[in-house]
Symmetry: C2
Subunit: 205 residues, 2 copies
C-alpha cells in the first residue's frame, strides 16, 4: 500500500494513520468509509474535533475537561468537597465515576512524573493541588495513580509535598493494590501476589 | 464509560466511534490524543477529510479516485489501454498495482451486485464499462472481483452483458483461483482445494 491514486486521499490517510494504533491499511479503510458518507456527515465528523479543540475548557478547580468554568462534579453541592481523589487523566475520572463508589471530588494531574519521558512535577498539575490543600477544609487525599514506577514516584512526591505544608492535618491514602476480583492466584504476577499477602486485610466474615 | 464530563468531548467521541471497528473506549482514547495536539495539528487532521470529500474527483474513464479528470493510470501512455481489469473498489486497484504484475488499465465498479444489500447493476459502474467496451479497441477484460457469491454473480452479469454487445470480439478472463502461495493443503478449504484440482494448469518444469 504505497502509491495512492490521489494526493488528497494520501493526505487524509496520513492524518488518520497519525492516530495511535491506526495503521495505514486501516486508515485507508476508514477514510474510504468517510468518503462514502454525505458532505454533511463528513463536515460533522471533522467539525467535532476542531470545535472540541477550540472550545474545550478545563475545570479551574480539578482540571478535568469541562464545558463550563467549574465542572459538574466540582459545582455539585452533593459531593464531598473535603475528599480529593488524585488521578492521572480524564479517563480515570470517568472510570472511577462509573464504579459509583466515590462521592468526593477529583484532581486531574494531566500526566504523571516520568524522568524517562522528561515529565517533571512542574509539567503536571501538582502546584494547583498544593494550593487546594493549603486553602484547608480538605480531610483526605486519595492517590489513585497507576500502580507503576511512575505512579509510585508521583505518589511519593505528592506525599512529601503535602507533609511539607505542615498546616495540613489530613489523611493521605492510596487505592488498594492486590489480586483483581475474579482472578485466579496462579495467573496473578508474583509482585502483586506477594504484596497482597504482606498487606493482607482483616477478614470481615 | 457512559457519562462524559463535557458535551463537546462526547460529540467528538460519538463521531470517532462512528468509524467502522472503532469502539467507544478506543474513540475516547483517540479523541484525547487529538486534544493533546496543537491547534494547527487538529485543524490539519479535520481539514484533510473535509478537503478530500469536497475536492475528490473520480476518473471519468475508470472511476478510480483521482486528483485530475483522468487518473494517472488512464492518462499514462505506457499502460496497455486495450486491457481492462474490473475491480470492486479503490483498495483493489492499489493492491494490484503493488504486485507490479499488471500493466493494463482498470475499471472501478464501486461495489458489486448484492441482492441482500439491495445493490443492483444500476448502482455500480457497469453501464460505463459497457460504454468503454462498445467504443472498441479493447482486447481483454479481466474480472478481478472478490471470489464470493456476490463476486461470481457480478462476474456472470458482466460476462452476459458483454456477450450481448456482439460487436465485442474480446477475451474475458478472471483472476486465477486456487491454493494461496505458501499455504499447506490441509489448511486450505475444501471448495478451493477441489476447484484447484479440477482447474489444474499445465506444469511448466
Amino acid at each position: 500500500m504505497s502509491d495512492y491514486p490521489s494526493i488528497l486521499l494520501e493526505q487524509a490517510v496520513n492524518q488518520m494513520a497519525s492516530l495511535p494504533g491506526v495503521g495505514r491499511r486501516t486508515a485507508l479503510r476508514l477514510v474510504l468509509h468517510l468518503l462514502r458518507q454525505s458532505d454533511a456527515d463528513v463536515e460533522a465528523f471533522a467539525g467535532a474535533f476542531t470545535r472540541l479543540k477550540k472550545e474545550v475548557v478545563y475545570c479551574k478547580e480539578c482540571h478535568n475537561i469541562s464545558d463550563t468554568e467549574l465542572c459538574p462534579i466540582c459545582a455539585s453541592t452533593r459531593r464531598d468537597h473535603s475528599t480529593i481523589c488524585v488521578v492521572e487523566n480524564v479517563q480515570d475520572v470517568m472510570s472511577i465515576e462509573n464504579t459509583g463508589q466515590y462521592n468526593g471530588v477529583y484532581h486531574v494531574l494531566g500526566g504523571i512524573i516520568s524522568p524517562m519521558e522528561g515529565i517533571g512535577p512542574k509539567d503536571i498539575e501538582i502546584d494547583s493541588l498544593m494550593e487546594r490543600v493549603s486553602k484547608g477544609n480538605i480531610a483526605e487525599i486519595i492517590l489513585a495513580l497507576p500502580t507503576t514506577m511512575e505512579g509510585d514516584t508521583t505518589n511519593f512526591y505528592i506525599y512529601r509535598r503535602i507533609q511539607n505544608l505542615e498546616s495540613a492535618n489530613l489523611k493521605i491514602s492510596q487505592i488498594a493494590r492486590g489480586v483483581a476480583v475474579g482472578n485466579q492466584l496462579e495467573y496473578t504476577d508474583e509482585i502483586t501476589l506477594g504484596r497482597s499477602i504482606v498487606n493482607r486485610t482483616e477478614f470481615k466474615g
